[in-house]
């Protein structure tokens, strides 16, 4: 109350500085406010007193309660519950230390499998078999040692035969699962990588390509075939630096005895059309692309591509090549492309 009075006094001398207008009104307003505050203060004091009384009443009860709680705790301590809880906490801490959030997430994903396995294992039939097996194991000390002959003799028993069949089936499944796991964890070999790379660039291999424009794919494939390096063949290809001597001359162009252009540099597109016509093949866009790939590959490595290399390089299926060039595809393509006979067996 006194503090509010002093602040009220302080404000009074300020009134005239605000201006000479209505100082009496301001004082009246202040007095009204103070009245309201006085009422509120009285209410607060009343409540405080009530609380103090309540606390005084409760203290003895609280003391009793504390005693009881302490007693209970010491009892629990005697029973080992506290140390148990502490150990439990330590275990939790260890679990947290050894398993990261990733492990817990994996566990969560495997929960259904785990539950399925547990359910399957706890089927009455399975438990009956496990029970039978465990009684045998309990009497393991009484078992007579047997050798190979003993095994053969035992295998005549029908029950043993059945058991062996079950074991074999079990082994088969374990082996199957192990194989799947090995496949999953297998590091890709160089050949795998090359194949995957090619497949990525070429798209689906079985796609029908006859007459379909695939310029970018072919260009990529050509680059890929160059990146693969010189072709590995089952026979060492003899790289011919000098053009072969022409066996026959036709319209001023030299051909070898096996019907290929003697000098690959003498090749022109018109000549290719003529050779193709003579081979019974009409060159459309799709066929031209194969011929161009064959020429580019030959220029790159000095060896004419075989069917396998053509399929890998152009992204065409073997079947497509045989459809486009029905008779001896690799040889026909080499003839049209004006390059020597392909080497190798594949």
């Amino acid at each position: 109350m006194e503090t509010t009075q002093t602040s009220a006094q302080k404000t009074e001398p300020r009134a005239p500085t605000n201006g000479s207008t209505l100082p009496n009104d301001a004082a009246a307003l202040m007095a009204k406010r103070m009245e309201v505050m006085e009422e509120q203060l009285a209410y607060l004091v009343k409540r405080q007193r009530a609380q103090e009384e309540l606390f005084a009443d409760l203290t003895p009860i609280g003391k009793d309660l504390l005693n009881v709680v302490t007693e209970r705790f010491s009892e629990l301590e005697k029973e080992g519950a506290i140390s148990f809880a502490q150990e439990l906490l330590a275990v939790t801490r260890k679990v947290v230390q050894h398993y990261g959030p990733e492990d817990v997430r994996q566990f969560g994903n495997a929960v259904v499998t785990i539950l399925d396995t547990v359910r399957a294992l706890t089927q009455p039939e399975v438990l009956a078999i496990a029970g039978q097996a465990s009684t045998v194991l309990q009497n393991a000390d009484q078992a007579e040692p047997i050798g190979i002959m003993g095994m053969v003799r035992a295998s005549r028993n029908e029950d043993v035969q059945k058991g062996m069949a079950v074991m074999m089936e079990l082994l088969k499944h374990v082996g199957h699962a192990a194989k799947a796991m090995a496949e999953q964890r297998r590091e890709p070999t160089g050949a795998d990588k090359r194949k995957a790379d090619l497949a990525k660039r070429l798209g689906p291999k079985k796609k029908k390509v006859l007459g379909v424009e695939r310029p970018q794919v072919i260009e990529d494939a050509r680059q890929e075939a160059r990146d693969l390096g010189p072709p590995v063949l089952c026979a060492d290809p003899a790289v011919k630096e000098e053009p072969e001597a022409a066996a026959t001359m036709l319209d001023g162009v030299g051909f070898t005895a096996d019907g290929h252009l003697a000098n690959p540099k003498a090749w022109t597109r018109d000549l290719a059309l003529n050779i193709a016509h003579a081979q019974g093949v009409e060159l459309d866009d799709a066929r031209w692309k194969v011929v161009e790939f064959a020429r580019a590959d030959f220029e790159e490595h000095g060896v004419s591509p075989n069917v396998r290399r053509l399929t890998l390089g152009t992204g065409l299926a073997t079947r497509d090549l045989y459809t486009m060039f029905p008779k001896a595809p690799a040889r026909t393509i080499a003839k049209i492309a004006g390059i020597p006979k392909p080497a190798g067996c594949i």
Partner: protein, 158 residues
């Protein structure tokens, strides 16, 4: 460029062994024939059936015992596990040469127009059904059918 018209050539291969080293010659010869524009078909009989059996095609072995070219005494070559060891080594070498696997070779053959047949008698002997064979096998035929098919063909036994 004047080409002399030759009679259409035809090759019939009989594949009667299931070894990795015994299967490849037939497959490569047939493939080479197709690449040279020669009609080719292979008749798989006896152990050769393994080459076109789904469950066996990826596990063909190499028999070293009794093979003087293996460079290994027969008594050693006959030890257990030698066959698969030799097969593994051979497969590794083939991979280095970028040679297709037997399964891939059969696929290439089918796509290139070679025809593959299985022997009916051998199928009955080994208790195999058409479903056990690879889809590339065109049909199961008898020896008589084989003679009809191979009319005018050069027959090669491997």
């Amino acid at each position: 460029m004047a080409t002399i018209a030759k009679p259409k050539r035809k090759i019939a291969l009989i594949c009667s062994h299931g070894g990795l080293d015994e299967a490849y010659p037939a497959l490569i010869l047939a493939n080479a024939a197709r690449q040279s524009g020669i009609d080719a078909f292979i008749f798989f009989t006896f152990w050769g059936l393994d080459v076109v059996t789904e469950s066996k095609v990826d596990h063909l072995h190499v028999n070293l015992a009794g093979n003087p070219s293996s460079g290994m005494p027969t008594i050693v070559a006959g030890l257990p596990g030698m066959e698969s060891l030799a097969a593994r080594m051979m497969k590794k070498q083939m991979e280095e040469l970028e040679l297709p696997t037997v399964r891939e070779m059969l696929q290439i053959l089918e796509e290139s127009g070679a025809e593959l047949y299985a022997c009916e008698l051998a199928m009955n002997m080994f208790k195999r059904k058409k479903e056990d064979l690879l889809p590339q096998v065109k049909d199961v035929i008898t020896a008589g059918d084989f003679y009809e098919l191979s009319e005018g063909a050069q027959v090669i036994f491997t």
